[in-house]
């Protein structure tokens, strides 16, 4: 089965990109497709500690991200420069993953057969 990389570039709550990204990730993972999640640009804000999505009428993100482990989605990558530009570090994030520099980021993406961006 061909592998899939899902890139998250959108901040949460302003649109439904973050929900669609998680839906496509969990749906594909349920069919055992090799899948990885990438977070860059404002997408890194999806992973911040202490969010309260209920204030925007949405489900709490930390609960949804908790499903990733159950679906064996373990390949998670963060863009180092995106975190730095926003004054964030890995310790601010609710899930574990690997922080990649620019060249590492694109080298990792090149390993996947399909790439979708939200």
């Amino acid at each position: 089965m061909k592998s899939l990389a899902v890139i998250n570039k959108s901040a949460p709550f302003g649109n439904i990109n973050y929900r669609e990204s998680l839906d496509i990730t969990l749906a594909n993972a349920s069919y055992d497709r090799p899948i990885a999640l990438f977070f860059s640009d404002d997408g890194v804000f999806q992973l911040l500690n202490n969010t309260d999505a209920t204030l925007t009428g949405n489900k709490e993100l930390s609960k949804t991200f908790g499903l990733l482990e159950m679906y064996d989605v373990e390949d998670i990558y963060f863009c180092q420069s995106s975190l730095a530009a926003r004054g964030l570090c890995e310790q601010d994030l609710i899930i574990d993953g690997q922080c990649l520099t620019g060249p590492q980021w694109f080298a990792k993406l090149a390993e996947f057969a399909h790439i979708v961006t939200f």
Binding site: A11, G14, F45, L48, N50, T51, T56
Partner: protein
């Protein structure tokens, strides 16, 4: 006093820089701006909406930013009533 209401991430839509008599309110995704150095000298005040900060896990960051004044919804409404003109950004 002009009131500028920002709604989009400053990484997507850069915050305005004005020399007029204006205040800026960060709402929705624009509250992401509290993680960056806002050029507050261009504004009388820079406000950020508390509920949007809490939703995005950025309340503590905003509290540690001396250039930001955190306001609740009632204060936001009061600002819109007392300001003229109002511009969405």
């Amino acid at each position: 006093m002009m009131l500028i209401i920002a709604t989009k991430s400053p990484f997507i839509n850069a915050l305005p820089l004005t020399t007029t008599n204006a205040s800026l309110v960060l709402t929705q995704d624009s509250v992401i701006g509290v993680t960056t150095a806002i050029d507050s000298q261009h504004f009388i005040n820079v406000f950020a909406l508390e509920s949007d900060l809490i939703a995005r896990g950025l309340l503590l960051t905003a509290q540690n930013n001396a250039d930001i004044t955190i306001i609740d919804l009632a204060q936001f409404v009061q600002l819109t009533v007392s300001s003229h003109p109002i511009m969405n950004w």
